[in-house]
Subunit: 272 residues, 2 copies
Amino acid sequence: MKRTAFFISDGTGITAETLGHSLLSQFEAIRFHKITLPYIDTVEKARLTVEKINAACEADGEPAIVLDTIVDEDVSAELAKSNGFKIDVFSTFLKPLERELKTHSSYTVGKSHAIIEMNRYKDRIDSVNFALDNDDGARTQQYDRADIILVGVSRCGKTPTCLYMALQFGVRAANYPLTEEDLENPKMPDVLQKYRHKLYGLTIDPFQLAAIRHERRPNSRYSSLDQCDFEVRTVERLFQQQDLPFINTTNFSIEEISTRIIAAKDLIRRVN
Amino acid sequence: MKRTAFFISDGTGITAETLGHSLLSQFEAIRFHKITLPYIDTVEKARLTVEKINAACEADGEPAIVLDTIVDEDVSAELAKSNGFKIDVFSTFLKPLERELKTHSSYTVGKSHAIIEMNRYKDRIDSVNFALDNDDGARTQQYDRADIILVGVSRCGKTPTCLYMALQFGVRAANYPLTEEDLENPKMPDVLQKYRHKLYGLTIDPFQLAAIRHERRPNSRYSSLDQCDFEVRTVERLFQQQDLPFINTTNFSIEEISTRIIAAKDLIRRVN
């Protein structure tokens, strides 16, 4: 069974898309063809969107799901003319919120949003630069400024996690790779000693690690299952000996790894 | 006027937080103290959360706003005991969706979600690695695999935009800096000629550029307003001469820059 789902917004579409994915993931029996249409901010664009929706309804033989976060009433009214099944997020929640907050919402497309975004911008860029500058143990003299320092073997997911924490939450995350040298005579590198309270370990299933490394350096010792297995076992023992909190990334998404670490270490989100 | 707002989830909290920010940004008159509580997945955790909410209600002298995306009915019922004003996203939308789709939702915490996430994982990591490998013109031999190649002067926002497109949408984005050499006798670098269809320009207000560069290299020629002004004017003229699409990043968030480029170039999102 297949249904088309449209996520429509007068802005980036990220809110509509994020909520849409969450809601539709609760219906496992149905395969959704998902289409995000951002920046639908004029009646004319809405009219063209209605044509697309109606074409999908006809092709599927069922009404398309239409989830939108459009604020402008004229644009929203035009969109309501489609044959799709419309979920109107803002009108559903803004009216009760207005009553509770005893004030009118601005209903101004992206207005206050833009202000918030600009405040967020600098912290996020700073954090991204911090993550890039402090990737892979490149520098350690900035660890005083770090909110968190991820440690783990090569290719266990440190870099994407640092970048995600920076972009999504403005968290300044450094990462330090534990190399063979650190693992042969297992100990925490000297440079990390004074930052114990900032350290968080990542580990990973050895089979998955071998597969990931294999893509970088096929048929090398580095990517052999023996080597991966040795490194993972050693690093996990080291985390335990040092009483270091750690997370196994194997079955988690980047969002989950990041938000679990932030929650566990009670980190301040600079972007909010 | 100040109100506390809680975004509560049994998972990462990203859906609750994203929707919450969008809704509350419509109320400019009110200053919200926003608190995200992820992984509230047991009745006991919900009970502790209710205590936090009630404490905030008492401190504010007004009910806190409580927006949650909890699926489990017992956990949700416990949370409903708070004195906050509860916006229950899932129960509001899942019931009508069940009727429309003529099927029950799984109501299984994070179950199908986890499956989706794992499929997304590899594409995202690949795209992040692609962005890092192809940052700042480091390599050009992989441009055949690029979905998009951002061009612009140093520090105009290319790298964070590439990383965001990779993490959020699985888009493979490279970037190439236009240096003084390219701009003194303005022309598009040879290596980019055969990828014209993949190029997208970024530009920026010269004052903002000078401020950003100043943080990296204070009081240098590189960060002087004269130099920034020269580079920006030249690069914009080059974009126009070459009939290259471009966006001024000055007043846009990273989300907006990314989604506008993806929409304008009709790029395929690998993560969906």
